[in-house]
């Protein structure tokens, strides 16, 4: 026999969802559709060549973004900064 008690549903544990910070949930961002193959490629996973070929425009776009972020990945601390930090520590 079916359980007709309306409170029964409440006892079913809610599906656990990943909690995002409040700030993100309150500011909905417009988003484009980035094909899964592009996400996988950017994540360093093996990607089927045909799937990438099907997303050629996105691939070219993200290849350019990757070239720029690659330069940023090699940014160094200004040479004077460590000395300035040590000077400030010694003043303390």
């Amino acid at each position: 026999m079916d359980n007709l008690d309306p409170r029964a549903d409440a006892e079913i544990p809610a599906r656990k969802v990943e909690q995002e910070p409040v700030m993100d949930r309150e500011v909905p961002m417009a988003s484009a559709h980035t094909p899964e193959a592009i996400h996988a490629w950017l994540d360093g996973e093996n990607v089927n060549e045909a799937a990438l070929r099907a997303a050629e425009k996105e691939y070219e776009f993200w290849r350019r973004v990757e070239a720029e972020t690659g330069k940023r990945r090699r940014i160094k601390t200004p040479t004077s900064l460590p000395g300035e930090i040590m000077k400030a520590i010694k003043k303390d």
């Binding site: 995002e20 417009a30 988003s31 484009a32 360093g44 990438l52 996105e58 990945r73 601390t77």
Partner: protein, 196 residues
Amino acid sequence: MKGYTSVVKTTQAEPPQEDQIDADQAIIDRVLAGDRESFATLIGRYSDPLYRHAVGMTGSPDDAADILQNSFIKAYQHLGEVRGRFDAWVFRIVANGCKDWLKNIRRTHLSYEEDDQPSGYETPEEELDRGELRGDLDEALGALPPSLREAFVMKHVEGRSYEEMAELLETSVGALKMRVHRAREALQKLLEERYL
């Protein structure tokens, strides 16, 4: 098709090995025993990835340098409280410094052009390459909510693995993948009219 490869990342940031963690602890012990100069070794060891994080989050080399300086001073003052990995502990100080900066400054437009300090690109050519995409990417990153920007910067600018990010931010790999994917989709939306 030539040019399509299965793996993009060639410069993945590696988390420190066990012996590096022990070496950091030995330095911390020396500093706490009165050898202040040894702290410079910790600054030298970790300042580059932390600076990259701060530049990525603020978009400003000047402000990134200030955040880094304040963070290392704070780390020095509280060095006795380090439990576990020093690099993860000091990363959290810098990351919180960046979030506080974002809360206070509420900038919508970020640009390296406004700063006196060079950004620290590896070569003069890269420093001077103020191409359109660089400026537009800065602006688009500035429009992202802080947690999406943080995830994108850690993945794409710092070259960290999701596992390393999860350890540093004390959250799950799944949540971070979701944030990085959302950041990419928002960035693509912001830039697609011009570049797609």
